[in-house]
Amino acid sequence: MVYKKMVTALRHLRQAKRVALVSVGVALFSTPAMSEEQVLRIAMTASDIPLTTGQPDSGFEGYRFLGYTIYDALINWDMSSAEEVSGLTPGLAESWEVDAEDSRIWTFHLREGVTFHDGSEWNADGAIWNLDKIYDEDSEQFDARQAGNVRGRIPSMDSYEKVDDYTIQFTTSEPDAWFPYQLSFLLFSSPAQWEALGGDWDAFASAPSGTGPFKLTRLVPRERAVLEPNLEYWDEERVPRLSRIELIPMPESSSRTSALLSDQVDWIESPAPDAIPRMQSQGMEITSNPYPHTWPYQFSMQEGSPWLDINVRKAANLAVDREGLEAMLGGLMVPAVGIVAPDHPWYGEPTFETRYDPEEARRLLAESGFSPENPVEIKVLISTSGSGQMQPLAMNEYIQQNLAEVGIALDFEVLDWESLFPNWRRGAGDASSRGAHATNITFAWLDPFSAFYRFMHSSMAPPNGFNWGYMNDPEYDRLLDEARVTFDQTEQDAILAEFHARMVDDAAWLWVAHDVGPRAMQSRVKGFVQAKNWFQDLTPVYIEE
C-alpha cells in the first residue's frame, strides 16, 4: 500500500516534468533497446545462483531454472499443459518396468543417441557414474553437496547396477510404487566434462555439462547466470526458441517489481501483490495457475491438544472465510479444502464439506462447551516470512479474526523462518515448539510421499519425517502402506482418494490456501504455458517485439 501511495504521489511529479526531462533522460540514460536477439531476463527470488553441478539447491526454484534447463532426469516432468495436473514423461530413460516377481527391482531402458553438451555420450556407464556421485562416498566423483540435495528426495533407493550399455537396474529398500516420482529429482552430469576439468566440482559449476535443452555459458556468482540453447537437444519438440536466458537473483520482491517496471528484466517470479494493478495497467502479463503447494495449519495430536476434539477441528475449517482471504491477497490464492484440490485424482469424495459456515462452527464448538465468550485457546507457531509462506502475518491475522468470531482464540508464537523450519522435524513435543498446538508451514507436494506419507504415516513421526503433530491413525497407515505397494496407477489413485477423503472428513488439518505461483512478464514475452507444477518449461518461450 505504501508503495502504491508513493507511486500516486510521484505520478504528479512525473507528469509535470515528463516533457522536459524524459527526452533528455532517454537520450542520456535509457536502457539500450533490445536487439533482435531473443533474450529473456528473469529475476528469480533466490538470493544466489542455485548450484549448477547437477543437483541444484535453493529448493524447487533451483530445479526450475538450473536443474531442468541444463539437465535431464531418467524420468522428466511433463510441463506442456496448463490445464491438467503435470505427470511424468520419459526423459533419459525411454521406458521402465517393475519386476513382476520382486517389486523392489526396477529396470530402466536408457535413451540411445543422446549426448551431453560437451559431445560425450550418454549411456549406462554415465548413469552409474552419476549414481556414485550421490551414493558412493568412496568414489572420486562423490559430492556431499549434491548428495545432500537429492538423497532425501529418494528415500527408498537401496542399490543400483549396470545391466548392459543401455540398461540399468535399481533395487528399492521395500516395494515402492512412488519410486519413479523420486527419480525425477536425480539429474545427470557429464563424467567427461568432470574429468576434463580435473575432477573438480567447483570448476564444473562454472562450466557444467548436462543433456538438457539449455547450456550454461556464463556464471557470475550472486549476480547472473546465462543460458543458451542446446540446438542438439534430443527432444526436437523442446529445442529452445530463445537465443539466451539471463537469470538474475533478486530476493526482494520490491526490487524485482521495480526491475520489471523499469524494463531491466522481462520476467519476475512472485511480484509484489500491491504492484500488480500497476503492472497490468502497463500491459504486462500476470500469469498464475494453482500448483502443488498448500498453506495449512498442521495440528498437534498430542495429549492435551484441543485439536483432539473433532468438533474443534471441523469448526476451525468452517470458520475461515477463504474467499475473503483470497480477495485480500488480490486473487493470488485458491481456497484449499484439502491437501489437494477437488479436481485432483487424489481428492476423493469426502462427506465433510470444507466451507465458510460460522454458524455451523459455533454449533459444533457449543457441543464441546466452547463459545466466543469461552473460547478454546490454541497456540500456533507462525513465521514472519519464508520460502513459499505467501503473506504469513497478514493471512494469520485474518484467520485469527475469523476463528475468534466462532470461539477459537489463537495465540501466535511468531518465529523467523529459520527457526520455524527446523522445528518442523523436531515435532510438537520438542522444547523448541514451546507448547504450540499447531504449526503453519507451507509445503510442496508432487507425489504421494511428499503430499501425504511424510505427514500422516505414524512411522514419519519426529525425527523420521514431518509428522510434526504425531498423527497416529492405523487406518491412515493401512491406506498409505497399501497405496505405496500398488503399482497400477488407477488403483493407486483410488486408494489415495479414499485416504484423502477420510482425512478431509476427519478435518485432520486446517486447510486454507493453495498457492498459484504468480509471475509477471513484459507483454513481449510469448509462448509461456504455466504448468500446474513447481517446474516450468522455458523452451517454448519467445520474444515478440
Binding site: R14, G152, R218, E223, I248, S258, L261, Q264, E418, W424
Partner: protein, 317 residues
C-alpha cells in the same frame, strides 16, 4: 612519534583476536541450523550427519574455533555452506563492490558535507544555515530503505533513467568503470551518501563556527589578511577532525550498507551478509564479519596515524 605509531599498531593484535572470538561465538549463538543451507529439508538424518562431517560442523565448538582461526591465519576461511565456494573468494568479490559503493558514497557525502558545513558555519544563524542544518538532520535521520525505494520509483520506474538493481551486466567481477556499470552505482551511492553528508555537514559547521570565534581569526582579520586566506586557516584547523569523521564514516558505510545493498540488489558484503543470515550460512557470516571488522580496525588505525601526522598534539596527548 615512532613509539606512538608502534603502540597504536600493536593495539591491533588483541583487538583482532577479540573480534575473531566474538564473531565466531555470536554467529554460533544465533538460532538456526547451518545444515538448512546445505541439505534439502527432506534429507534423512544419515545424510545430514554425512554433510555435517564433510563441513566439520559435527566437531565440538572449541575445536571448530581453533580450526577456523588456524586456517584463517593462512588466509583460508573455509567454504560457504550455501554454495560451496571459498569464503575468501565470496567475501573479497563482494568487498570490492561494497568498497566501490562506500567510496562513491563517501566522496559524495564528504564533498557535499564539507561544502554545506563550511557555508553554514560561515553564515551561522542565517536562512542558509537553517536550510543546511535541516538537510543534515534529514540526512542522518532518513531511513535508507525508504529513500532507496523513493529514488528507484522516481529514477527507475517513473523516469526510466537509471537501473534499479544489480551492479552491471555481470560479465566481470573486476573493477570496471564503463558507463554500463557506473550507471548502476548512482542510485545506491546517492542513497548511502546521505548519512556521511549529514554527519560531515554538522561536524564541519560546528568546527567552522567554533574556529571563527577564536581570537586568532580576529588577529588575522586585524592584520588585514584576505578572507580567502583566513578561510584556508580555518579549513586547516577543521581538516583533521573532518578527515577522522569521514574515515569512521567510511568504516560505518562498509558495515551499514546492508539495507541499501538489499534494496538495490547490489552484490556487496551487505547483501552477502543479509543472504547468509537468511540461509544460516555460518562460514560466510563469520568470514564477512571478520573481514569487515579487520577492515574497520585497519581503517581506524590509518585514520589515527594520518590524524596524528596532521595534528602533532594528538601524539603528545
Amino acid at each position: 612519534m615512532s613509539s606512538y605509531f608502534l603502540k597504536r599498531i600493536l593495539y591491533v593484535i588483541p583487538i583482532t583476536l577479540a573480534v575473531s572470538f566474538f564473531c565466531f561465538s555470536l554467529v554460533h549463538l544465533s538460532p538456526g541450523d547451518p545444515m538448512d543451507a546445505v541439505v534439502s529439508p527432506d534429507a534423512p538424518s544419515e545424510v545430514v550427519a554425512m554433510v555435517q562431517r564433510a563441513y566439520g560442523f559435527d566437531r565440538p565448538l572449541p575445536e571448530q574455533f581453533g580450526l577456523w582461526v588456524s586456517r584463517a591465519v593462512q588466509g583460508d576461511l573455509g567454504m560457504s555452506a550455501a554454495n560451496g565456494r571459498a569464503v575468501t573468494t565470496e567475501v573479497f568479490g563482494a568487498l570490492k563492490n561494497t568498497l566501490l559503493l562506500a567510496i562513491a558514497a563517501s566522496l559524495i557525502g564528504f564533498s557535499l558535507g564539507c561544502t554545506f558545513g563550511a557555508l553554514a558555519g560561515y553564515y551561522q544563524g542565517s536562512l542558509l544555515d537553517r536550510i543546511v542544518t535541516g538537510f543534515a538532520v534529514g540526512g542522518v535521520s532518513v531511513p535508507h530503505y525508504w529513500l532507496g525505494m523513493l529514488l528507484v520509483i522516481i529514477f527507475s520506474v517513473e523516469l526510466n533513467w537509471l537501473p534499479s538493481s544489480g551492479a552491471g551486466p555481470g560479465s566481470s567481477r573486476d573493477w570496471n568503470f564503463e558507463w554500463a556499470y557506473l550507471r548502476h552505482l548512482i542510485l545506491p551511492a546517492v542513497t548511502l551518501s546521505v548519512i556521511p553528508m549529514g554527519v560531515v555537514t554538522r561536524t564541519v559547521r560546528a568546527m567552522v563556527a567554533d574556529i571563527l570565534a577564536h581570537e586568532f581569526v580576529e588577529a588575522l582579520r586585524a592584520k588585514g589578511l584576505a578572507e580567502r586566506r583566513i578561510f584556508l586557516h580555518v579549513i586547516k584547523n577543521v581538516a583533521p577532525t573532518a578527515l577522522a569523521v569521514m574515515g569512521l564514516q567510511l568504516g560505518y558505510l562498509l558495515g551499514s550498507s546492508i539495507l541499501v545493498e538489499t534494496v538495490f540488489s547490489w552484490p556487496g558484503t551487505g547483501l552477502l551478509l543479509n543472504n547468509a543470515i537468511f540461509q544460516r550460512d555460518l562460514p560466510i557470516l563469520q568470514g564477512t564479519i571478520l573481514i569487515l571488522a579487520l577492515f574497520f580496525v585497519a581503517l581506524n588505525l590509518m585514520v589515527d596515524l594520518v590524524q596524528a601526522r596532521l595534528d602533532p598534539r594528538i601524539q603528545r596527548g
